[in-house]
Amino acid sequence: MKIWCTGWKKLWILITKRMRTAVLFFVVFLFLFSCSTDDDICAGGEGTPRMKIKFKTYTTGKPKTMDSLFVSVDYGNGIVPVIERRTATDSVFVPLRVDDHGFTDLYVSTSQQGIKSQIRVKYNDKTEYVSPACGIRKLYENVSSEIITLGAVPGIENAQNEIINENKTHLFLLF
């Protein structure tokens, strides 16, 4: 009676030298496939675009570089610090909320403990599928901002009414 293992053994013996190369090739092939293609990192700026904010002088309207800037955002779970710049800054990128809240509140100040201005960014959002890794992203239309609480920021200037990429400045803060 044949033991089933001997069947395999016999088959293995049948493998010629030429076939060994093929088997080796196949093992390499296996390794290539075993590298998972499940790319779970969303990279390359394909995600939801952030709001680009620049600064102007309130009295003259000329571009301004801030010596320091602090921006906190309420994403629905309390206010979290997003930007803490203590060096010269001419623009910042602030991510907005991605849930269907309708607006995002920003809190802007020029120093850590300084008085904060509450700025409400209102928009209509729409969704767009991007890729397996990035999932769905949000695009914002009819964007308009207003100051809720005056503080460090005496005025604002809406620049773009939609946020579909991060190339253009969407909002100017006047200091």
Binding site: W4, L14, I15, F33, D39, Y75, P95, D99, T127, Y129
Partner: protein
């Protein structure tokens, strides 16, 4: 591989196709199904057409989930595969015993439900969008490389093979790339890898 080995020339002349079938069930994946969210029940029927050429058809059913990176998806449905393989090396005493390689075309017709597709946000503000359940189909091609060996001197065989797969086409719901396809597996990439460990009966 079909270079003439002298002793086989004689056999070739004698060989003609008689109805012969081997039916197998993938016992390994069926066993794994008891302990996993991925439930695969599949089997095959093959027939020896020519000296070393076999035709093979697979059929199966898979229920699977994809819960990762903010996704929550579930699929279930049947799949079929049709193809052939060539015995590269075989046992001179038993034409069914040997190592083989071949190719298959496969199709899956399934129901999918994406309960969550992630919207990635900042500061823990991630969100998701849900989509209703829908019927979709996917098509792929796969290579098959394996071996078949007789169990003792019975009509039972063990057939083990691996299948590198390449996804050709999928129907999509709202342009969403399917993350999992029955019979194919996780499909965020075009390539995947499958295996079968069959208990087969030859008659």
């Amino acid at each position: 591989m079909g270079f003439s080995q002298e002793n086989e020339v004689q056999q070739k002349e004698q060989w003609r196709y008689d109805p012969n079938f081997m039916v197998g069930i993938d016992v390994l994946n069926a066993g794994i199904s008891f302990f996993s969210d991925r439930k695969v029940y599949q089997g095959f029927v093959s027939t020896r057409l020519k000296e070393r050429l076999h035709a093979v058809a697979d059929a199966g059913f898979e229920k699977n989930v994809y819960q990762k990176n903010g996704y929550d998806a579930e699929v279930n449905g049947p799949f079929v595969k049709i193809g052939g393989f060539y015995m590269l090396m075989r046992d001179p005493e038993n034409a069914q015993n040997g190592f083989y390689a071949g190719a298959k075309l496969a199709a899956s017709f399934y129901n999918q439900e994406y309960r969550a597709v992630p919207i990635r946000g900042f500061g823990g503000s991630s969100s998701f969008e849900s989509f209703p359940s829908s019927s979709q189909s996917s098509y792929w091609t796969e290579a098959v490389i394996g071996g078949r060996v007789q169990l003792f001197s019975s009509n039972f065989y063990i057939d083990v093979n691996v299948q590198p797969k390449y996804l050709i086409f999928s129907t999509k719901q709202e342009d969403i790339q399917p993350m999992v396809v029955p019979g194919f597996g996780q499909s965020s990439g075009k390539f995947n890898f499958g295996f079968m460990w069959n208990l087969a009966y030859h008659f």
